[in-house]
Amino acid sequence: MGGDGEAGFVYKVERFCVHDGPGIRTLFYFRGCPLGCLWCCNPESRTLGPIRGEDEFLMWKQPVGVQRLVELACRDVAYYRSSGGGVTLTGGEALAQPEFAANLLRKMRERGIHTAMETSGHAGDEAVETVLPHLDMVLLDIKHMDDGRHKALTGFGNARILSNARKIHDAGVPMTIRVPLIPGHNDREEDLRALGEFVWSALPAVKTLCVLGYHNYAVNKYLAMGLDYPLGDLPPASEERITRAAETLKRYVEEVRMGG
């Protein structure tokens, strides 16, 4: 990818989002992600090469200039102001294009726009250090505290992710931890308690955990792309299950939200 970070791969821009950071936000979906989570609901994001399937998943197949994205984001400034909103980088994995992400975030900040990033945390030190100074907020997923289980679920262990979580926390950037709850895969009582322990001891400034119940809305995307759906016909996490998970986690943080 372009080394100077003036352009990058973004496959979608969504306006009027309220579940990925405070207020009304514009979301930039970055293409490319190193992980391969079994429950991923944006499979179209996970490669930089050509993707089979419906074109409507991909707004842009060529790199997009930072300026173009800035111009688009600025169109909703009035709504950010009236709602305490801003922009959020998501995807895919924004940290996989750190120069590009940092450039975009810096230009948002220069215009007084609040910046947030949703991330898996799976990235090198340099990537995190490049992007972090330009972020007002991070939403980080923790999928499993057990390294081996983490690898089975996502393709990689969790050491780097947990270390980056600490790094972001210690840099003083406000962070919300998101817990994707995948029934039968990471939702045992001891799994959740381990997660809660980690947040409580290593990330004391984190006030909010969000439990995101597994859903299978993305099945059609996989089918359209000619891919098998990794979780088969696993039913969505029940409201009861999500509530119980939230109960467990409530002991470790001030606030546990169900959903975004």
């Binding site: 306006r15 009027f16 989002c17 207020g23 009304i24 909703d76 709504y79 102001r81 909103g85």
Partner: protein, 803 residues
């Protein structure tokens, strides 16, 4: 006996609502019969006096009834939700359609037995005498032709009263109608009858005095009836209530109101009688929460009323508004489906140089609408840059019910737009909403700030692309400027457009002026005029120029379609040159049929972002369309010019009602990819389903328009899934949307909150959804009452979801 409030228990109004809703829509013949009787006896009198006598005869002899559970007395016809007839405007249509009325696909009415036989004397008397016949005879042929090709629709102006205004309710509450009678008498006695102009004023002022007497008698009839019922009543609470009602009816509306109940009763009599004198609709109540507040506040402070009891009374008033009905000829009905009365109530806003006007009564009004979920009144919430979260949250909570109310109106655009018409600042700050989305200064504005002809702008575009010739009939009325096939650039397109626009604008303005003359001469409204400043002081009816301000507008339909149409032509024919103008013309002439036609249609649909997606290229076309049109209208004055009122101009309005459907039927295929006969977009909203970039993008498009110039009402409809309002976060997002729109000087926005599945289900099983109220275009109606094309229209309007 001192005055006291009628103190209803919680649920009282809802019980009354259920009673009222049990009545099917019917036609009531009484008014027609009584008015005709009176007209037979007043052949030698001046028209305004004939009107006054007719009104008196009706008010003194029509059936009156007080229903169990009512807190306010007064009925428009012999049953709730029964439509009276107004033969003096038009009655031939009724004679012709009588047998089909109970079987109309929508907006049907039951008829009394022997209706035709009972009405024979009415039909006979009015032949040749009605406004409709006289106006039609007066209108030159060219206007009939313009209507026949569906470029304009002005039929409704010839068969109904004007309406579309807010009378001076505040004055009635404060001073009573006896003060009006006194002023009329003083003015009359000061006239020099040797001067024909002054002598003419005498007739109006005499009419006012007659009408005041008639209203007094009418109210007294209810006082007597309430007393009669009280005497027979065994339940002590009910008996006490009837006695209070009787006393109230003896006092108001002739005398000032002394408490909240008297105020509402006085208000109700005025609202009611306006709609007995004339069938003009959009009789709007103005700033209800402001002028009633002193009565509310005093009573609460004195312990004479609780907030809960006030809520019940307001709800009773709301239910009464739903007992009013109107029947229209079938042609008109298609432009206004869903039994709409457009009785608009304004809440919130600013007072006294920018102070927030929201008070406890504001919240009571919102609660009343939220609880009752009725189609009337149209609740309009004014807001401004300093509106509180509390107020906006209460508004969104009501919107959440799905009734499409309140519609949100932005002081930051509307007040400047009134100043632009020469309105005094204090008056501008005091504006109220009328009908759908138009504005007026309460008690000081003439009729029809909106509501003149309907103007089919997309038809005008079709004509412009076709050398001024209507493809369907071959008729050419305006001079042509070539056809699209021969155009070499966009300036040819704009030139052709301007030629047609100029001609047809002048056409409807002339048409409307001629009808105005006929109405002015034949059917003045003494009761309505006496309640508008400065009619009595000037001795002139509203139509003669009695109002302080008088600005009117027509309803202009189709600008979103034209923007897309022009954008496609520009891109494909002149920028990219991938479709020649001749090919494009051939494609629309053939309604996009055949492989070439289909191909070109596909190219049009994919030619670029459509209006409503925050794309400057197409949005700037819309801006130019509006700005040009505003410039055209600035040349014209209405029929009151030079006779007294300020401004007397014409303004733009995009209040569609449901005209987008019949108008669409009259246009062939157009270069936005629309096929022949398909409905137009409504209001200034994007074409149904083409705003694909979310609500912020859609709103940004609307915000680019010169909304301050669209002072006849810029109507913007948005649809949201219920999930958006499910939690605090969603509601906060909606409030932020409204605030940002306010900053961007948007005019109006209304929210339809029902998901497509629910509406589709309601189409299949209407019996399950009788209660479902949706926002049509500037008003709410029962979904199951609407024509299926309108229903589909509402379903198709982009459903914005929360991401």
């Amino acid at each position: 006996m001192t005055e006291s409030n009628i103190r209803c228990e919680p649920g009282s109004a809802r019980a009354y609502k259920r009673h009222v809703k049990s009545f099917r829509p019917t036609v009531c013949l009484e008014r027609a019969l009584l008015a005709t009787e009176s007209y037979r006896r007043t052949e030698s009198l001046e028209p305004v006096l004939r009107r006054a006598h007719a009104l008196r005869h009706v008010l003194e002899n029509m059936t009156i009834h007080i229903h169990p559970g009512e807190a306010l007395a007064g009925n428009q016809a012999s049953r709730p939700f029964s439509a009276p007839l107004f033969p003096e405007y038009a009655i031939q249509w009724f004679e012709n359609e009588l047998d089909s009325i109970p079987n109309r696909p929508i907006d049907r009415f039951d008829l009394p037995e022997d209706a035709r036989r009972s009405m024979e004397p009415v039909f006979d008397y009015w032949r040749g005498k009605t406004l409709y016949e006289k106006a039609k005879a007066a209108i030159p042929e060219v206007y009939h032709q313009a209507e026949s090709i569906k470029a304009i629709f002005g039929e409704h102006l010839t068969n109904e009263g004007d309406g579309h205004l807010i009378v001076d309710y505040e004055m009635v509450l404060r001073s009573g109608l006896s003060s009006v009678r006194a002023r009329a008498e003083i003015a009359r006695l000061a006239l020099d009858l040797r001067d024909p102009a002054q002598n003419h004023k005498r007739y109006f002022l005499e009419a006012v005095e007659i009408v005041c007497g008639a209203v007094e008698s009418f109210a007294l009839r209810f006082a007597v009836e309430a007393n009669r019922l009280a005497e027979m009543e065994s339940d002590p609470d009910r008996k006490a209530r009837l006695e209070i009602m009787s006393r109230n009816c003896r006092r108001v509306p002739m005398e000032p109101a002394r408490n909240f109940t008297e105020a509402l009763q006085s208000l109700w009599f005025v609202q009611l009688i306006l709609q007995i004198e004339s069938n003009g609709h959009s009789i709007s109540l103005g700033r209800f929460d402001q002028y009633l507040y002193p009565y509310f506040e005093r009573d609460i402070a004195a312990g004479a009323l609780t907030e809960g009891e006030a809520l019940e009374l307001v709800e009773h008033f709301w239910v009464k508004l739903n007992t009013i009905n109107k029947i229209r000829p079938w042609t008109d009905t298609q432009f206004l489906t869903g039994y709409p009365m457009f009785q608009n109530v304004t809440i919130g806003g600013q007072v006294r140089n920018g102070r927030d006007a929201v008070n406890t009564l504001t919240h009571v009004c919102l609660k009343a609408s939220e609880e009752l979920m009725l189609a009337q009144p149209s609740l309009s919430a004014r807001y401004h840059l300093q509106s509180s979260d509390e107020y906006l949250t209460a508004c969104m909570r009501c919107v959440k019910t799905g009734i499409g109310m309140p519609a949100m109106f932005n002081d930051e655009a509307i007040i400047p737009s009134l100043l632009n018409h020469g309105v005094d600042y204090a008056d501008a700050e005091n504006y109220g909403l009328v009908g759908c989305v138009e504005v007026a200064v309460p008690g000081k504005w003439g009729y029809r700030c909106n509501g003149m002809s309907y103007f089919n702008m997309l038809k005008v575009y079709e004509l412009a692309m076709n050398d001024g010739v209507d493809p369907a009939t071959g008729l050419r009325l305006a001079p042509g400027a070539g056809t699209l096939a021969g155009f070499g650039s966009m300036s040819d397109v704009w030139q052709a457009w301007r030629t047609q626009l100029d001609w047809y604008t002048r056409c409807y303005i002339e048409h409307d002026a001629i009808v105005d003359s006929a109405l002015e001469t034949l059917l003045p409204d003494p009761f309505c005029s006496m309640l508008v400043k400065d009619c009595i002081a000037r001795g002139l009816t509203i139509k003669e120029g009695g109002a302080v301000y008088d600005v009117v507008s027509a309803q202009s339909i189709g600008i979103a379609n034209i923007s897309n149409a022009m954008a496609a032509v520009k891109k494909l024919c002149f920028d990219d040159k991938t479709v020649s103008p001749a090919e494009m013309k051939l494609a629309v002439d053939g309604n996009f049929s055949g492989p070439d036609g289909e191909r070109i249609r596909r190219m049009i649909l994919e030619s670029g972002p459509k209006y409503g997606n925050d794309d400057d290229a197409v949005d700037e076309i819309a801006v130019k369309l509006f700005t040009d049109y505003a410039r055209v209208l600035k040349q014209y004055k209405n029929a009151r010019w030079g006779r007294g009122p300020i401004d007397c101009g014409w303004q733009i309005s995009t209040s569609t009602v449901t005209s987008n459907v019949p108008f669409g039927k009259g246009i062939g295929a157009t270069t936005d990819g629309r096929k022949a006969g398909e409905s137009l977009a409504e209001g200034c909203s994007p074409v149904q389903g083409t705003d694909r970039s979310g609500p912020t993008a859609s709103m940004n498009t609307i915000a680019k328009l010169p909304n301050i110039l669209i002072s006849g009402g810029q109507l913007y409809n948005m649809k949201f899934a219920p999930a958006v309002f499910a939690d605090g976060r969603g509601i906060a997002a909606m409030i932020a949307l409204v605030r940002a729109y306010g900053m961007k000087k948007g005019w109006h926005v209304q929210f339809n909150v029902v998901n497509g599945d629910t509406l589709r289900d309601a189409q299949k099983r209407p019996e399950k959804y009788r209660d479902l109220v949706v926002r049509v275009a500037g008003y709410s109606a029962y979904f199951v009452d609407l024509d299926v094309v309108i229903q589909d229209d509402i379903i198709r309007r982009s459903e914005h979801a929360l991401n």
